[in-house]
Each structure stands twice: as structure tokens, then as C-alpha cells.
């Protein structure tokens, strides 16, 4: 006997993500999910962003690391609420993990929630967390072929930050190709070239993010 089912395999995850999103909207929190390969600079970006915008908006952070808590400790040093998700070896964060983490975060007055996903270009893309925007970080030493090789991540993202531009003189990174491929995959992608080391180009990112936070009001 054949049974026609037609369902999205991640339906259960999507439902939990929708609940998370409803909670964010109720509280007027803007949530971003930061994704990249390992070491592209996610935690560095979180640190810079908190330093730049932390006086204007109350920020909370969820750190997803496979193992240790180094990243959470780095962020905690900035004096903001941070919780570490134990992914139990999983290569991505899912909606349920975020739901669990939210219960141990002080969300009072928080306007921006940053989720640092597990460093991985493949797995996190299809697991919705309830975020308002996905932000991709691609660092120049990784090479310009990444959008073409991992189109899903780039398609799902609202913003692409091309990080470590300070290394451009030393690595072969074809900026034109990276931009062209990324935009062919996602015409609406906002691209900013940045360096978390010398802070170049970060104003564009801060401006975009502030605009998004400002336009998110408590329901």
C-alpha cells in the first residue's frame, strides 16, 4: 500500500522556531543567527558589535559550541547576558536548543539577541531558530568559491559579511566572483566587506543592524 504524505522533514523544528519567533516579537527582540565555517570570525564579530551597539541597545547572546565554553567566556567579559548551548556534538543549533537556552537568559529590556551558530557551512542552513535574519560570515582565506559550493546558506541569508579583508594582500580571494556568485544565488543579499581586526567596513553592518532593531517594536 502506498501512502502519500508530503511533509517537510523539519516540520517539528519549524514549529518550535515559530514559537521562539512569537516570543521575540512579543518582547520586541530582534534575533539574528550568525553562521560561518569554523574560525571565520563569528565571535570576533559579536564582540565588535556589542562594543559598538551595546550602549544603544541591550544585547543578549547565545553561543553554540560543540564543546568548550571559550566563546561564551569571551562574550561574558563584555558584561552582557550570555548562555552557552551544549549541542552534544551536533553540528548545528536547532529551534529546540534555542528554546531551552532562552529560559536561562535574562531577556528583560533586551532588543537584540545574537545567536552564534556552530562553525559549519553545511548543516545549520536548514534549521530555523526563530531568527528574524540569518547572517553569513565568509572570511577571505576560505576562498571565493564558497557561495557556489554551499548555495543554500547564501540563499537563506539576509546579509553576507566578507570578513578578514585585511588579509586580502596575502590570500587569493576573488572578491568579484564571490559577490557575483552570492548575488546570483540571492539577489536580495546585503553584502558588506569588513575586517574585525582593524574594524574597517563595520559601520555599514552596524547601520543595517541598528535599522532592523529600531524597526522592531514591542507588540
Amino acid at each position: 500500500m502506498k501512502i502519500s504524505v508530503v511533509s517537510n522533514i523539519l516540520e517539528a523544528n519549524d514549529r518550535i522556531a515559530a514559537e521562539n519567533k512569537a516570543l521575540f516579537d512579543e518582547r520586541g527582540i530582534y534575533a539574528v543567527n550568525i553562521m560561518s565555517s569554523p574560525g571565520a570570525g563569528k565571535t570576533s564579530l559579536v564582540e565588535k558589535t556589542v562594543e559598538a551597539l551595546g550602549d544603544r541597545f541591550r544585547i543578549a547572546v547565545i553561543e553554540g559550541d560543540i564543546q568548550d565554553t571559550c566563546d561564551a567566556e569571551r562574550v561574558a567579559r563584555l558584561g552582557i547576558p550570555v548562555v552557552q548551548i551544549n549541542t552534544g556534538g551536533a553540528c548545528h543549533i536547532d529551534g529546540n536548543m534555542v528554546r531551552g537556552a532562552l529560559s536561562s537568559l535574562d531577556l528583560d529590556g533586551v532588543r537584540l539577541l545574537i545567536v552564534e551558530n556552530v562553525g559549519n557551512l553545511v548543516c545549520p542552513a536548514e534549521f530555523k531558530l526563530g531568527e528574524h535574519a540569518k547572517v553569513m560570515l565568509l572570511s577571505t582565506p576560505e576562498g571565493a568559491d564558497k557561495p557556489a559550493k554551499y548555495p543554500l546558506m547564501f540563499q537563506e541569508s539576509s546579509v553576507l559579511l566578507i570578513n578578514k579583508t585585511d588579509l586580502l594582500p596575502y590570500v587569493d580571494f576573488d572578491m568579484a566572483k564571490a559577490r557575483r556568485d552570492a548575488l546570483a544565488i540571492n539577489r536580495n543579499l546585503r553584502i558588506f566587506e569588513i575586517s574585525c581586526k582593524n574594524a574597517e567596513g563595520l559601520e555599514g553592518w552596524y547601520g543595517w543592524l541598528s535599522g532592523e532593531i529600531e524597526s522592531t517594536r514591542k507588540r
Binding site: 501512502i3 517537510n8 523539519l10 523544528n13 548555495p151
Partner: protein
């Protein structure tokens, strides 16, 4: 490695369906998937076969309907299907190309059951 989570979600859905339609054996599972989605069919097959052991889906085969990567070129106005994405048109070499298909997420289409 997210194939482990996907296999377990798939088994959850199969169990829900079994409760609803009262079947007690799954022979085959038909799935659809974009060629440029982030799922590796071989890894999913393996994860599924391990997790299905001792369940009604033990030994069930997975069949994948792969959706091709589809490009549209604004210069020559043609669609081009391939297995991998390229931002250069395969027909005219133009770079004015967009991705229009191939990243479809994993979906369950049909169960063959007894």
C-alpha cells in the same frame, strides 16, 4: 552530519503516520531533495538504516527524487539545469544569471507500507 537529526525526524513522522494509518511495516520511503541542498543522501541512508533498526522501518529503502540545480540567464533568457551551481551561463557565457531551483529542502513524499 545533520543527517542524523534528519533521519530521526523522518522516523518520528513515519511513526505518526503508522499510528494514523495503522500499518506495521515500511518497505520504501520516497523523498525529494534539491541537488544543491545541504543533505548528503548516502549519509542520510546510513543514519536512517541505523536508527530504524528494531522499528517498523527496519530495512526500508530510501528513494530520492533529486531536483536539479536550475539557472536562469537574463541575457539569453534560457533555463539551464545542472548538478552544481555556476554563475556563468552554460549557453552564452553571460554572468547575468540567477539560481532558480535546486536548493529545495528534504521532503517526504510517499511511504510504501504493509
Amino acid at each position: 552530519m545533520h543527517e542524523i537529526s534528519l533521519a530521526s525526524s523522518l522516523l518520528d513522522i513515519i511513526n505518526e503516520q503508522a499510528a494514523k494509518h495503522r500499518f506495521n511495516r515500511v518497505n520504501a520511503v520516497k523523498l525529494s531533495l534539491g541537488c544543491a541542498s545541504s543533505v548528503e543522501p548516502k549519509a542520510l541512508e546510513f543514519a536512517f538504516s541505523v536508527q530504524a533498526q528494531g522499528t517498523i522501518a527496519d530495512g526500508a529503502s530510501l528513494r530520492f527524487e533529486m531536483q536539479p540545480v536550475v539557472h536562469y540567464c537574463f541575457s539569453c533568457r534560457r533555463d539551464h539545469s545542472a548538478e552544481v551551481f555556476s554563475s556563468v551561463c552554460a549557453f552564452c557565457g553571460s554572468e547575468d544569471v540567477i539560481l532558480t531551483g535546486g536548493t529545495e529542502e528534504l521532503r517526504l513524499l510517499e511511504l510504501d507500507v504493509d
